[in-house]
Every structure is written in C-alpha cells, then in structure tokens.
Assembly symmetry: C2
Homo-oligomer: 225 residues x 2
C-alpha cells in the first residue's frame, strides 16, 4: 500500500471504452499480437510478473482481487475496445480471466515505458485510459458504498447498455456469481433483484436469462440515482 514504486514504468487495471486506442501497435514479434482464451481461462493471476497489457478484441474479461478466505471483488468487466492489465508495479495485484471465449491484443509493458519519453499519441491514449479507469472506479465506489441492491443492479444494467451501445438488448456474458462479485452482493440477491425488476415490468429476461431487454428505461434510470 505504499511501496516506493516511484518512477517505475507502470500500468494498472483499466479500460478505455470509446477512447481511440487504435493507434496502439500490437507487438508482433515476441508476444504474438493476438492471443485467444477460452471461457473461464486464466489470463494472468495475482502475483504474476507484469509483462503485457491488453486490449479486448472480442469476448469479455473480468479483473478481480481475492481475500484470503475466498471472497472475491471483481473490479471491472472489460469488453471489446477496453484496455486492461496496466499495473503500477512489476507484479500483478489483480487476476484476470476470460469470461467467455475471448481474443486479445497483447502489448509489451515496455511500450508503455517508452511512452513518456516520446511525443507519441500513444502516451495520450494510455493516459486517457488510466483516467477513464479511475472515473469508473469512482463510480463503482459510489455504487458499492452507498447504493441498495436494486440500485446496484439498475446501475449495472445501464452501464452495460451504454457500453455495448446495443439499444434494447443487453447481453450478460457473465454468470450471476460474476455479477454478484462485481456488485458486492450474493448470487441470490442478484437473482431476486432481476426477478423483481422483471415483475415490475422494467426489464424482460431472455435467452436463458443471459440477456435483458429494457422495457422501461426511465424507470431503470430512476432506480439508479
């Protein structure tokens, strides 16, 4: 919590969203730009040495931390276009898994180090990604610290809807357990809350309850805060 990471090259868990990261050149040589992961496959684990950071091409990734007794907190889901895996130190503080079959582009951590010495737009992009990650973290702290179960689920669905950009149909690639560990709830509470939102006519659950149609967007927004 207070290591002298100083001016070390670095990079934390973050996501870029609509930030233009297209100019990031994949490192083709040593890393193999593209890497595929199957559903539930580990991308890296807490404690691993930091070598790469990643951009999601397709699929979905969760980054998380664990307590010694197994409690898990998923700090974020990373969808296509998002950057994650930036880390301050040389060692992973979070783990990352593919939620479903996923394709990533890997960048060498050193590309990041070189950044600050260049006039590159790359630096701008990565910095922007970091700042966006921090904004999301702030939003999520508000959610975890001050919102009710219903508000948490509503916020989550709204955030997914915005990110996916899909008007109407929201895909839920992750399990109820993943959602619960993201929202600071139990799977039962997530399930109950979704059921209740459905009964209230705010949403409709479809396709084995793995996707959601928002039927009353204003109501959903009102539930959020």
């Amino acid at each position: 919590m207070q290591l002298a990471l100083a001016t070390a090259g670095l990079v934390p868990a973050l996501n870029a969203g609509p930030v233009p990261v297209a100019r990031l050149r994949p490192d083709g040589a040593e890393t193999g730009a593209r890497r595929r992961f199957e559903a539930e496959e580990e991308i890296y684990a807490e404690g691993d040495r930091v070598i790469h950071f990643y951009k999601v091409v397709s699929g979905a990734v969760r980054t998380y931390r664990l307590l010694s007794d197994g409690r898990r907190q998923i700090d974020g889901f990373h969808l296509p276009g998002d950057i994650f895996g930036l880390e301050a130190g040389t060692e992973r503080r979070t783990g990352a898994d593919a939620v479903i079959d996923t394709t990533l582009t890997a960048y060498r951590r050193n590309d990041r180090d070189a950044l600050t010495d260049e006039v590159g737009a790359l630096a701008q992009e990565v910095v922007a990604a970091m700042l966006r990650a921090l904004e999301r973290a702030q939003d999520h702290m508000m959610l975890l610290g001050r919102k009710s179960a219903k508000e948490r689920v509503a916020s989550f669905l709204l955030a997914l809807a915005e990110r996916a950009g899909t008007e109407g149909l929201i895909a839920l690639p992750m399990s109820r357990a993943d959602i619960a560990d993201h929202l600071g709830l139990t799977i039962e509470s997530v399930s109950r809350t979704l059921t209740q939102l459905e009964r209230d006519g705010v949403i409709a659950l479809q396709a084995q309850r793995r996707s959601v149609v928002v039927q009353d967007m204003p109501a959903l927004r009102r539930l959020d805060g």
Copy 2:
C-alpha cells in the same frame, strides 16, 4: 460515463503518497503556488471547471461524490504529500473540501498537458500518482464490496497508520460522518465498531476520541483480511 474525452488533457482524483513529487514546480504566477483553506472550506465543487491540481502540504482533504438525495461517498482522504485533483475531463466529477485547516500547492492543469510532450520526470511522477490512485481505488472497492463493518474500520485504521507513518498514535482529523461516508457505513456503525475494538483491547481511543492508539497490531491485521 462514455464521453469522448479522448486525448484531452486531463487528471483525476488521486494521491501520490510516497511518490517523489518534489520536482513539481508550483505555478507561482497566476495561481499563487500556495493556497490555504480553513476546516470545512470547499476547495472545488462537482461541476466546476478544472484549472488546477494540488499537492497537500499540510492538513487533510476529502474528495467525494454525491447522489441526488444527498448520499455521499468519499473516495479518498488526502494527506501531506498526496496529489489530488487530477481529472479526466474539463469539469469536476468530484468535490473536494479541507477537512481541517490545510495548505496546498496548486499546479496548473496545463502543466499536465505539457507533460506528455516532454521527456520530463514530471510526467513520470504524475503517471505514478495516477497508478497509485487506481491501486487505492481497487483496494477500496474490495473493502466496500466484500468486507464487514469491523474489517472496514480495521482496514481504515491500518491504512491511516501506514500513511501517517506514526507508530502507535493515529490522528483522526475527520469526523465520524466523514469516516462513515468513506467506509460505506453509518456514523452509528463506525462509532459502535470503534467502541467494540476498544472493548476488545485492540485499540484505545484518546483525545475526545479523535485519535487512536493501536494496542494489538496483530489482532488489527487479523481483522482486516
């Protein structure tokens, strides 16, 4: 939640801790390098235009977000040496107040913009500060999402102890309400938990209950997780 802040110059709420930010040159001209704030005085408000970012010289600062009904989440307390006030967009997403009488050094937001174009060590420092802020945010999300009241208070005290560096005596410059809004609890729960820790012989409360002596550090660490 998804504005195209793109490559805009930017800066989020963060703290630097032990990161060497000494080289930051205070902007003496327009901003007046040093600024003093009284206890409870507002430094900036949500929605304000972003002009400066700050380093704490003395005192303590809280940065927070509000929900429309008044619920508040304090995302961090900033102590001497910490940098805060970096923001992604041009508008404040968080508010900031002095908790007690406080002295800050103000830097122009533009200094940050210039950063990425230079080979400056300044860039390194600010990037390091951002990454540290993200690490703290991750720790705090774990706390808010998965820890009990007792664990939250224990974590909080431990974090304060580490940051202050004062072995033994921990000053609590902030009110119970501030602590509660940081830990996602009510003031009553904070108070009850402190009292219980005291009864258990883990800590001793002193000086109008505004400072704490850790009497059983191992026990406190065990409570944390």
